[in-house]
Subunit: 449 residues, 2 copies
């Protein structure tokens, strides 16, 4: 929703070149709100307004624009201004943004960025997407272990300008190996003793992430240890950067969305739904739909092989959709519950026997209940009460099959090193269609012959 509250005033200020007022507009509010109020402006107006903030604030406001907006603003401005912006963005965000710019232009822009920032950006660009390296930023508060608290505060106050935020103070030795961490709480409580050495304030049992770690793993670590930020190190324990809590929330969100999409048999979208081209969407949905379609086709040939039976007891046909969806629905409930339990570390592979026992009981309970309802309806459609018994018996077995299979497949796929969320539901859906028909016809033959 575009906030148009200030648009007329902003445009008037631009027209009348009221620099004082525009500056005031930029600094008075939280950068997120400033960005919100600017949403209705076009690119060139936006840049004109941003000129009235100093580069640090400019970058902060810029970060709160919608992604599409950011890309558009980059595309419409000259390299020099973009370079100033890139210099003041957190390095990880700058890298993400430069991904959207043509390679030649990236080189031209980076040529205008100060050497140290350029080096940071170049280095971050080398890390593979989805790793800790690609997620981290280089703006961390790092101090040498030999400093006293007084010296540390002095250095920090000079560093503070270029830092996004001070989460923890990381302590390194002369060769940039990470040695320990001082929390702002520890810092503040020692403030009365300025000659304390950092080495005496720091904690050395540090939780770190390796630069090659998977982002999901890192997010879980940060969440588990309740950290504000986690330092990223290489195999030699050199301090490389930090990953902050806000990036972790984004990862948790993105991974949750991916899981939901996988459970619904959609290959996870890299981009948002609205921005994903229809060709990509067709592909990501089509592959799974085709697999499911072939599974369902099997049922056609299966039914063909039972055609004689079906002709003799025509009323059986009426319940085919019911039988199939009973198995599919109860199975997808079970697999989803187990998948979410695996994600939240509530269930591990070794718990399979407990899970199976629970799901078998669930199958009996739910299957009996639905079977009873099914029986009473079957009385209207089946020729005799005895024949109607086919329905509850089939529903019971199909639901038990559904819950047991639905709960075990995710564990099997995890064991095989495959993503349980991706594989389970399509398999459960396909298998329960086929098993449903098999059980149905065999129960019918047994009872009715």
């Amino acid at each position: 929703m575009i906030n148009t509250l200030f648009l007329p005033e902003l445009r008037e200020m631009l027209l009348d070149k009221l620099s004082e007022e525009l500056r005031e507009f930029c600094v008075a509010l939280h950068p997120a709100r400033t960005a919100e109020f600017m949403e209705g402006l076009d690119s060139s107006e936006t840049w004109q307004v941003l000129q009235h903030a100093d580069p640090g604030l400019q970058a902060e406001i810029f970060q709160y624009f919608e992604w599409d907006r950011q890309v558009e603003l980059l595309a419409t401005q000259d390299d020099k201004q973009v370079a100033v912006l890139v210099t003041h963005l957190p390095a990880d965000d700058a890298v993400d943004l430069l991904h959207e710019v043509a390679t030649e232009r990236v080189d031209q822009i980076l040529a205008l960025v100060p050497a140290t920032d350029r080096r940071d950006i170049r280095r971050l660009q080398t890390f593979a997407e989805g790793t800790a390296g690609a997620m981290m930023t280089t703006e961390a508060a790092c101090l040498s272990e030999s400093l006293t608290l007084r010296q540390a505060l002095d250095q920090l106050s000079r560093q503070a300008e270029r830092l996004e935020m001070i989460y923890y103070i990381y302590v390194t030795d002369d060769t940039n190996h990470l040695r320990g961490v001082v929390s702002t709480r520890a810092l503040v409580s020692a403030i009365g003793r300025p000659e304390t050495k950092l080495v005496d304030l720091m904690k050395t049992d540090l939780v770190t992430a390796n630069v090659q770690d998977d982002q999901e793993q890192v997010a879980q670590k940060v969440a588990f240890y309740n950290l504000l930020a986690i330092p990223v190190v290489d195999d030699q324990r050199h301090m490389l950067g930090i990953i902050t809590h806000d990036d972790v929330i984004d990862v948790v969100r993105a991974e949750a969305t991916e899981d939901v999409q996988r459970i619904a048999a959609v290959e996870p979208l890299k981009d948002s739904y609205m921005r994903t081209p229809l060709t990509t969407l067709s592909w990501k949905r089509g592959i799974w739909l085709t697999i499911l379609f072939f599974a369902a086709l099997t049922t056609a040939f299966l039914l063909k092989s039972y055609q004689l039976e079906l002709e003799r007891y025509e009323w059986l046909v009426l319940f085919i959709p019911l039988i199939i969806s009973s198995g599919g629905n109860s199975g997808s409930q079970s697999s989803t519950l187990v998948i979410t339990a695996l994600t939240t570390k509530d269930v591990y592979g070794r718990d399979w026997a407990t899970v199976l026992r629970r799901e078998a009981i669930m199958g009996v309970v739910l299957g009996s209940f639905m079977g009873i309802i099914g029986f009473f309806c079957a009385l209207f459609l089946a020729p005799t009460i005895y024949a109607a018994m086919v329905i509850p018996i089939t529903v019971l077995f199909v639901v038990i099959c559904g819950t047991c299979m639905g709960s075990m497949l995710p564990l099997v796929f995890q064991r095989l090193g495959l993503d349980p969320a991706m594989m389970s539901n399509p398999f459960v859906a396909g298998l329960s269609d086929i098993l449903g028909i098999l059980i149905y016809v065999n129960v019918a033959m047994l009872l009715l012959r």
Copy 2:
């Protein structure tokens, strides 16, 4: 997985009463790891080890035990020790924990807790679950606006002991109204000018949460503004507490799990899967399965009304499962994509026309593709090539119905103020079963008669 690495040593230390070593064990590691190494101990051993840490650290380690463990430890210890623990836990965690204890015992325990902490706990207990009030903790760094930086640091260093962490320094007036916030970065960069007033360092455009706000709303705010913590205020803007980023990650996680479960037609579980009693599980799954079962039952009566047609063209029966699952699968893909897009604010209700257009195109593309595969298989099972045409035409229409219905239902439910995740998939599944049969038989009658 229980970490047994230190268990023998720990037990030996306890046996030999090696207080020095036990104390060292408690303080040397990150509290999360200390807790991990203690997992194999029984309750009374755990308490004995914890005695060697001072109460603050005790509470910190305690928080990293599994929830069941925490509850068990509380149950097996005397009120006095529990009271010490409760005093040192963050007030919001203490409240959650006391929920698990019988009401009379809570009173006995709280009687042993210092008055200020008791008051905090009692106050937090009054907030409804799922609101900002129930999520917040009272341990925030609060200072008066009239202080200078020097005085502020002095007060802070005294407060630091009882604070979990210093995220931001909140500035209040004499009557505890929230006036502004000072970041640790701003604090550190001003450290060379100790006579600066807090009022000159603070930002006044504050993002706050109201104590009555829904926790999901609060989580979204914190994530959007990239905050470490958000202050919680009442309608008169009195400062009541803060909600920290780690609680937000938990909420994001929990909400994601709930959404996944709802999409799979399970009423969200309050507890973890393994700890939810089977009776609760039967209920939470049974209600939706029953609704779905009744929808599927409709298909039986529907098929009954078309029985004459089906008897004349017996081969049509073979494709019933295929037709039904094509609609169901493509529909659940669409509804899941739209539900996740709604959650991530990628799609709003006003975008319905764009969404419908995209999904209609998707339906045509996917439906045509699957229809072609279906046609070639139908050639084997249908009596003539002309008759086989029934299958691709039906699949095409059913898939278009599925994608359009699947994408529109979540928007409709949201418009009606219902949870789109909860309502959509069961409805899509039920409706696509029924529509599938309707389309199928009508296409067949039109072509074959």
